[in-house]
């Protein structure tokens, strides 16, 4: 069982007094402070599992109402006990339910689980943070509503927590940027005050989920990857349920076709004609899922054996292997007429500018999918939450051994052939330098979570019985963060252990961005009780020490 910890600069007596106040505020049943209960707030995917550096909660509180959240925040100010809010607590690979700063009190919002509105005429929802994607999907199905949600890969996560960590999905661009697709928040501020953003601040309006800006500076951004309050309600724009979906594959014959491919892809996506595009290469193994899937590819290993290969060697490798080098899958959403017309247009446009390109029809579906069709497809592309992605931790993808967890690393790259090449090279060189077998090569393909950038990365294994392996994994993870950041490639989100490191690279003009955030933090949270350290933002009283737990 975990050791007990206290928040920094809080005595045992003061902590006990605070817990008593919390019990009065929300009921003793929902104040968790014994070691058995706090086990449930550890991060089982942590590199630091069972080490002195593991970030442990000092207590956990589970309010059921916004008023209870306000009471908790006011008590925390009185005793200067730091709080760390979680939504569904399923931020696996990025910290799960554990806090950034050890000794924080986790505010578990799972019991705030109301679906307040789903409007399938105006295409939006308003939900509380404890609502999972599974919950919202079931509600929509049970009520026969004609809207889709864009869900994260893990359906037990939820719209609020995922959006607040800048999470992503797999349908069309306006929806799969989950923070970008939100509209309106309700927030308990660090002093316990309740605030609504955008049109939520105008009491007599009905535009809270439809016009996100209201008037004046738009402050919602402070609460994404931030520590300026506890979000208790959040609105989201939803996609109308399309009638049909069609996917088509485009095969590009040459390595040098990549830039043209990307320009076509960008054109189609930025015009709103396609949904989530997938890119892979028949030349190289898939790198997602620890890079260990499939048989060893000896010619590819030989290509990469002596460092990053020259362009001539890469092209000679492609010639020897033969066949197309890139495969682009385009997904169209709409009616039968529009998806077929979209595919015909994409074919005409690409064939007109890239010689030797070939096309292959994929599946056409009238929506919603039948039960049989659901068993064939990756459901997140159809707005259906699942846990399908957890296949990456199955033993048959890890040399027969089950994994205990994984830490995801996703660098953001420019959408250009040169940008992708540089990202591949940096990750390859870093793996090599750190003494692990490189899994990246010139055919490693990006994900396209966001519409205007690429995401290149993979999952690093974590273990609960092998601290040495975790130590090596963490060293590699940190090296990837540093090498990519030095190349100008940030992560789109970080786990609780590397947020500080990742934040340090935003250093323009003497870290003026960070200094401005700290000015805001000090003004809004003078007692420093709201999620200290989250994404590298510390309150004044803990800034120098970076807050070691007591």
């Amino acid at each position: 069982l975990s050791k007990t910890v206290l928040p920094p600069d809080v005595s045992a007596a003061s902590f006990a007094a605070a817990l008593e106040q919390f019990e009065r505020a929300i009921g003793a049943e929902w104040v968790f402070s014994n070691s058995e209960d706090l086990e449930l707030y550890r991060d089982p995917y942590s590199f630091f599992w069972d080490t002195p550096d593991e970030r442990l909660a000092s207590a956990a509180l589970a309010p059921a109402t916004v008023a209870e959240v306000q009471k908790i925040v006011r008590i925390a100010n009185q005793y200067k006990t730091p709080l760390y809010p979680i939504s569904t607590g399923r931020n696996l690979t990025y910290g799960t339910a554990a806090p950034v700063m050890g000794g924080s009190i986790v505010v578990d919002l799972k019991r705030l689980n109301k679906i307040i509105t789903v409007d399938d005429k105006r295409h939006y929802a308003l939900v509380e943070p404890g609502v999972s994607y599974f919950d919202l999907y079931r509600y929509i199905q049970d009520h026969g509503l004609k809207v889709w949600i864009d869900c994260a890969e893990a359906g037990w996560g939820g719209p609020v927590g995922n959006a607040l960590d800048h999470g992503v999905g797999l349908t069309t661009a306006p929806y799969r940027d989950h923070f970008g697709a939100h509209c309106g928040m309700e927030v308990v501020l660090p002093d316990g005050e309740l605030m609504r953003t955008g049109m939520g601040a105008m009491p007599n309006g009905e535009l809270w989920q439809e016009f996100k800006y209201g008037q004046g500076p738009w402050v919602d951004g402070l609460f994404g990857q931030g520590n300026f309050g506890i979000v208790t309600k959040m609105g989201f724009w939803l996609m109308p349920q399309p009638e049909a979906q069609f996917s088509g594959r485009v095969y590009f014959p040459r390595y040098s076709d990549l830039q043209a491919l990307i320009e076509h892809l960008d054109y189609l996506e930025n015009l709103g004609l396609i949904g989530y595009p997938s890119l892979d290469s028949p030349m190289g193994a898939e790198t997602l899922g620890f890079g260990q899937a499939g048989q060893a590819d000896r010619p590819l290993e030989e290509l990469m054996a002596h460092g990053w290969p020259s362009r001539d060697r890469i092209e000679a490798f492609c010639d020897d292997r033969g066949g197309p080098v890139w495969r682009l899958t385009l997904r169209f959403y709409g009616s039968e007429e529009t998806v077929k017309a979209g595919w015909a247009y994409a074919r005409r446009r690409i064939a007109g500018s890239v010689t030797g390109v070939t096309f292959e029809d994929g599946n056409f579906y009238h929506l919603p999918l039948t039960a049989e069709e659901r068993q064939k497809e990756h459901l997140a592309h159809f707005g259906i939450p699942s846990l399908q992605l957890f296949k990456i931790v199955e033993p048959d993808l890890n040399n027969g051994e089950p994994l205990d967890g994984h830490a995801d690393f996703w660098a953001v790259l420019p959408r250009s052939a040169a940008g992708l090449l540089e990202g591949q090279r940096v990750i390859f060189e870093t793996q090599r330098r750190m003494g692990v077998k490189p899994t990246f090569n010139p055919f490693s393909c990006p994900q396209m979570f966001y519409a205007r950038s690429f995401n290149l990365g993979y999952s690093l294994a974590t273990f609960r019985s092998d601290p040495e392996a975790n130590k090596k994994g963490l060293a590699l993870y940190n090296a990837l963060v540093v090498a990519c950041a030095e190349a100008g490639f940030p992560q789109y989100r970080s786990n609780i252990y590397t947020q500080e490191l990742a934040a340090s690279f935003y250093s323009f003009n003497g870290h003026s961005l960070q200094r401005f955030r700290e000015v805001l933090k000090d003004a809004a949270d003078p007692n420093g009780i709201m999620a200290p350290g989250r994404y590298g933002i510390w309150p004044k009283r803990l800034r120098a020490s970076k807050a070691e737990p007591g």
Binding site: L40, P44, G89, P385, F390, K391
Partner: protein, 126 residues
């Protein structure tokens, strides 16, 4: 002391009543299993012809010696199921009490433990 008291209380409950209570728990447990567990542990196939992740992992581990889908197992004990819910197993994370309460955990365990699924079905849940 707590164990002694529990045994004593059990002795006061007539067997038929205890069986009915267990059956009711199993019926509730079936719904809870569907809500919390089936996305990983149901027997249906998923993309690429694979099983769902939890089912696939158990298939790989046991190589057919026991069924890969939890609901088809007859060798599970309530204590083991509860331990896995609260402690996790490999990549399966633990579940907090705000997700699955202690009572709900007992219901899931009653449903999955040996013989309880038959009880759930005989109680009208088919």
């Amino acid at each position: 002391m707590r164990i002694v008291l529990a045994i004593a209380l059990c002795c006061l409950i007539p067997p038929a009543q205890a069986a009915a209570a267990n059956s009711a728990a199993a019926v509730r447990g079936r719904e809870l299993f569907e809500h919390w567990c089936s996305a990983c542990h149901a027997p249906e196939p998923t993309e690429d012809g694979r099983y769902l992740p939890g089912t696939n992992t158990l298939q790989n581990r046991y190589k057919g010696r026991v069924p890969a889908a939890l609901e088809q197992r007859t060798d599970l004990t309530e204590a083991y199921i509860e331990a896995v819910i609260r402690s996790g197993l490999h990549a399966m994370p633990r579940f907090r009490k705000t997700e699955i309460s202690d009572r709900q955990m007992h219901d899931i365990a009653a449903y999955l433990a040996k013989g309880a699924q038959g009880a759930a079905r005989s109680d009208g849940a088919t």
